[in-house]
Every structure is written in C-alpha cells, then in structure tokens.
Amino acid sequence: MTLLGQTVAVAGKDLRIEARGRYALGAVLPFAGTLLVAFGLSLGPGRTLLQQTAPGLLWLAVLFASILAFRQAYQAEGEDGAIEGLLLSPIDKAAVFLGKAAAVTLELLVMEAAVVPIVAAMFALSLGDAPLVLVGAFVLGTIGLAAVGSLFGVLVESPRAREAVFPLLILPLATPVLVAGVKATELAATGRGGQAGSWLSLLVAFDLVVLGVGTLVFGHLLED
C-alpha cells in the first residue's frame, strides 16, 4: 500500500473514532465558545476595540482548542497500547504522522466553521470583504497547527515524556502560525486582503517545513 493509502487509512480511523465519541469537538467547541464570549464581555461594547482584537482572540481560541484536539488524537492510541501496534506494523511511520495531521485539520476546520461566524457576529468582524484570504488563512494556519501538534503529540504517549511538556513544545513552535494567521485575518476583515500575500506565503512555507520535517523524523519519535 502506498504512503497516501496508509495516510488515508490512519486519518479515516481517527475520524471514525472522533465521530463515534466526539471527544475533541465535544471539548473544543464549548471551550472556544466560552473563551470568546468571556473576552467579548470583558472588552465591553466599544465596536472599534472589538473589531481590532477579534482576529487575535479568534486565533488564540483556535490555538488553545487545538491543544485539546492534539491531546485527544493520541489518547485513543494510548488507551490500550494501540500505538505499539502502529510501531510494530510494517507501514511507513510517516503515514501515522500525516494521517493524524489530516484528521486533526478536519476536526479543527469544523470547529472554526462553527466559531468564526459567532465571532463575526459578536465582534462585528467583516467576513465578506476578502473571503478567499480568510479561508486561506484558516486552512493554511490549521494545517500548520495540526502538523506541529501531531508531530509532538506522540511524545505524550512516550514513557519518557510528561504530558506537561506538550504545551511547552507546541506553543513556541506555533507562534509563526499565530502571527501570520492574525495578520492575514485582520487584513481580510478590514478590506485589505490584497496585502495578505506575504502572510499567506509564510503560512505555506511553515506548513511545508513542518510537514516535511515531521515526515522525516516522526518514525524516530515513535520508536522507543
């Protein structure tokens, strides 16, 4: 079976588990919603301030929610030692990384599709000025976050690692996604989508680097 076929099999398995249990979305959606409502209420009714802070708050919610999703993506592997089955199987270990990243990307995009309209309504954020830039920023940023989370999430299942190190590894590495995502979203929401090209390019470059590095090193992280 090809790397693509193995990747699809791993992603399909993860999405089936998520669809059955709704573990990630069940935790992520209320978390992101509560976070944004709390921010919105604390900032008060000033329309300009809300509009200015909305992109940053939205991406922070996505980042924190994604950490929950990454953790969940590996929980099913650890429950009964299933990750050892993946290790001992003859598949390309890169397929595990890519499959998990694909599944988490889809889960986060579903979450974003639900949260972004709520934020637009609450924070008077314009979605119609540059919709392609907005969609591009979220899709590319989410792929980058999912790749980082899928790469380091496996360490949580390692007997040598501790769960607490996971956010410490993820958060600094996710900073470029956060910055580029916020800037591209801000430009799209203020009718300056045409200026977002460099930020979208940064997201593309980040995705390629993390996906490439992850494909190469994931097998070593999975090994004892």
Partner: protein
C-alpha cells in the same frame, strides 16, 4: 552480496541482513534493558532455534514482558546485541517486524471501533486481505459481537479480538505474553490451537505465561527472576 575485499560491507551485511546459514529464530547476547535506573532485563543470553516453542516462566516483575518486547523490537536493548530471524535487533527491526507477531497482555485495540473495524484496520496496516476478517472472528467465537464497539467488551472478549488479529497472519515468530489472561477455557484452547498450528508448520513461538495448566506444547522451558534468565532446567525438574 558484499565484496569479500570490503570488510566494512561484510560487517554491515551481517548486522542488518539475513545470516546465510539457517540463523536461529532468536539470539540474544548479554542483552540488558534499563528503565530509568531500574534494570528490567539483565544480561540475557538466549538462543531459540527455528521450530521451537519456548515457554518462559517466572513471577510478576521477572522481566518476561520486557524480554518479549525486546525480541519484538518494541523496546531497544540498552546494552548487548541480538538478532531475530537473522536480522539485527536494532538495524534490522523493520525486517523483524514484518515477520513476527506480538500478542501482549495489552490488546492494542481501539476502544471506539468495533472488533471488525479493528481487524480491518490491522489488515490495511499489514496489507492483508480484509476478506479474512469474518472467518477469523468466527474462529475465535466473536462473530455475533463483531459489530459492537470494543469499549463494551469484557477483557476476555478483547483478548479474543487480539488473538483473532494474530490469526490473520502467519508470522515466522509468534511472541505470546500472557495470552491466556482473561480468557475462558474455550478461548485458551483457541490460543493453544494457534501455537500448535505454528509448531506443526515449523514456525517458532515464545510463550510467557503464569498459567501452569497451559504450555504443555512447549519444546523447552526457561525461567526468569529479577530480570535474569535462570539456568535451564530439565523436564523432570520442571515438573
């Protein structure tokens, strides 16, 4: 084939490729495995010939699981060296993994998938025909519950699914770590039939179990205690 004038290539071939003359199924030389500072396996020397059924006995914490997981390449040796089916434990682990099956006391199942889905996923991972899933589930007596999520299964049912997964393949080396745990007598018989079939086909099995009523098909017994393999006993002493 490495050139005879190139000693480095010869060494590399010996380390990672199959040995030329009928290599043993397992050969461990002074293998030690340490977790943190605690050694779980201490200077283990072991040779298992092809076609043998080796029974490993010992109390809890003796190091039986660590021994089997090192042989399966799930754990790397901290010190020492060894080969499985002629392939080096470290450099040849992908080759080893294609040829072995480890049935451990953790069943390695996905709780939110059904038994059938778990086995189909295993088929995908190993490039096997998914058409074998239904017959194997019938063989372990789980045909009626094959569409239910594993989360609702008893420990015995989970172990049967794990046994069914092992039966999907015909590995050259079968590693069984407490395979009878949680199984009723009928389930234990399924495991025994699988071991006997492996033995009849000239394949090798290493079985670690506490169950004193099982393991009669073994051709040899070794004992472990405190992470060490003890000197082998004769059949009379074992009894």
């Amino acid at each position: 084939m490495a050139s005879l004038t190139d000693p480095d290539a010869l060494v590399a071939e010996r380390r990672s490729g199959p040995e030329e003359i009928a290599p043993p199924a397992v050969r461990l030389s002074a293998v030690t495995r340490v977790f943190g500072v605690a050694p779980a396996l201490v200077r283990a020397d072991l040779r298992v010939e092809r076609g043998e059924v080796l029974l490993v006995r010992g109390p809890n914490g003796a190091g039986k699981s660590t021994l089997l997981r090192v042989i399966a390449t799930a754990l790397s040796p901290t010190y020492g060296s060894g080969s499985v089916l002629g392939f080096d434990l470290v450099t040849g682990r992908e080759e080893i993994r294609r040829r072995i099956e480890l049935l451990g006391h953790r069943t390695r199942l996905y709780e939110d998938l059904t038994a059938k889905e778990n086995l189909r996923f295993a088929c995908t991972m190993y490039g096997l025909d998914p058409g074998e899933v239904d017959p194997v589930l019938r063989r372990v007596g789980l045909a009626g519950a094959a569409g239910e999520r594993v989360r609702g299964y008893s420990q015995g049912m989970r172990q049967r699914v794990a046994v069914a997964r092992a039966l999907l393949r015909t590995p050259e080396l079968l590693l069984l770590d407490e395979p009878y745990a949680g199984l009723d007598e009928a389930g234990k018989d399924v495991v025994d039939v699988a071991i006997l079939a492996a033995r009849a086909e000239g394949r090798t099995a290493v079985l670690a179990t506490h169950d004193r009523t099982r393991g009669s098909m073994a051709t040899r017994t070794v004992f472990m205690d405190g992470g060490r393999l003890l000197p082998e006993l004769g059949a009379a002493e074992v009894r």
